[in-house]
């Protein structure tokens, strides 16, 4: 279980919530309310106060890279630093590639030739290769068509069922929210969380 208690940053209201194993919680709210900031605080990218625990382990007890591998953020825009796709992966699973609609040789593709949708899907695979226990997804299907959105949704659902990981999914798409969530949280314009 992932427990967030009294988390706050830059003087904003304190937030508390928790994610159960296997649970998919959707987070929505007006733009600028701080959803991305919340995700950044959860992976400890920005200065913040409060207690974060994963299965009873405080984040301070883990070195930052380990914490970030377990509590993993998929940013809205992916970044790539090497020339080809495969260089960004420790392991590139061909079956997983196929499930997201890629050909087997996608690992050899050059980054500059990828479309934004391809990058987004590959970034998800890159993240899942770390076998995270909490997924924080910032609009993971924003650049995708209907077919690929469904592929991504299916893959994440499958991952949660297989591993018992939890997921916090930021989305603006009402239909997607209804289709996916076990539970919903809404961030208000003042930066408070309403849990339903």
């Amino acid at each position: 279980m992932f427990v967030v208690k009294d988390l706050s940053w830059r003087g904003l209201p304190r937030l508390s919530f928790s994610l159960q194993p296997g649970e998919l919680v959707c987070l929505s709210g007006p733009s600028g309310s701080g959803k991305t900031q919340l995700l950044r605080a959860l992976v400890d990218l920005d200065l913040n106060q409060g207690s974060l625990t994963l299965h009873g382990m405080a984040r301070e007890s883990l070195p930052p890279p380990q914490w970030r591998r377990r509590v993993a953020l998929l940013p809205a825009e992916s970044r790539w630093w090497a020339a080809t796709v495969a260089e960004h992966f420790t392991v590139l699973d061909e079956q997983q590639l196929a499930r997201l609609g890629f050909e087997r040789d996608a690992g050899g593709w050059r980054i500059e030739r990828l479309s934004s949708g391809e990058k987004q899907r590959l970034a998800l695979l890159r993240l899942l290769a770390n076998r995270p226990e909490v997924l924080l997804l910032d609009e993971p299907t924003a650049n995708l068509d209907a077919v690929n959105s469904q592929r991504v949704e299916k893959m994440i659902r499958g991952y949660l069922e297989a591993t018992g990981a939890s997921c916090l999914w930021v989305s603006h798409d009402q239909q997607q929210l209804e289709r996916l969530c076990d539970r919903r949280m809404i961030m208000t314009a003042e930066g408070r969380l309403e849990v339903s």
Partner: protein, 262 residues
Amino acid sequence: MTTLSTLDLSIAALLVVALALTARRVYPGLAKQLLLAAARTAIQLTLVGLVLKTLFANVSLLWVSLLALLMLAVAGREVMARQHRRFTGTWGYTIGVVSMFISSFSIALFALVVVVGHKPWYQPQYAIPLLGMLLGNTMNGIALALDRLTQSAWEQRELIEARLVLGHSASEAVSGIRQQVFRSGLIPIINAMAAAGIVSLPGMMTGQILAGVPPVEAVKYQIMIMFLIAGGAGFGTLAAVRLGVRRLFDERERLRLDRLKR
């Protein structure tokens, strides 16, 4: 050696004045800057000449050390001033000074004691020019490297953070930047060594030849200086990059761009 009279220098100065007059119309600001810089050269070098004259007359470790520290302090200020996005607070100054101290001072000491071997080792005639050349070049390398480091971190924030969230350590996340930064710090001396003697005759060697030293002896000194500078600039840049990267991240390996000047 033929000495130069004030008249000789005035004739050389006419060249700068002529340039300023010619450029005055199109580049008024630059002409003024040029004259000011030329005046500074004349005044600063005359003063340093007098200081060195006194220093050479009274060989004392204390005075040599004091002058060396003054040179270091000024070089540190120069490194800081050349950075577009320097570290805030005292860090902007200390990173440069510490790196220059580690590299230039220890290498100058090594050269004076082991390589040159004059007695006493702090003989100002050797110690001050040697340290000056080392500091000047190390300063260039460190200033370039730190400027590049902070600028790249600023521009590539999203890339660095993308690697951090994938569980890369701070050091891995900036590995690409670090390579480029180290390269930019070393390029000036690599170029100088590669072109030495073919494209340009290095200043120190030229000076010694003008003073009547046999060319082969002057060349030996120049080769030593080039190697010392390569070491000084290289180790100084390594130290500066290491300290800089450390300061860019905090204990939770967060990229702290708030520690840079906006």
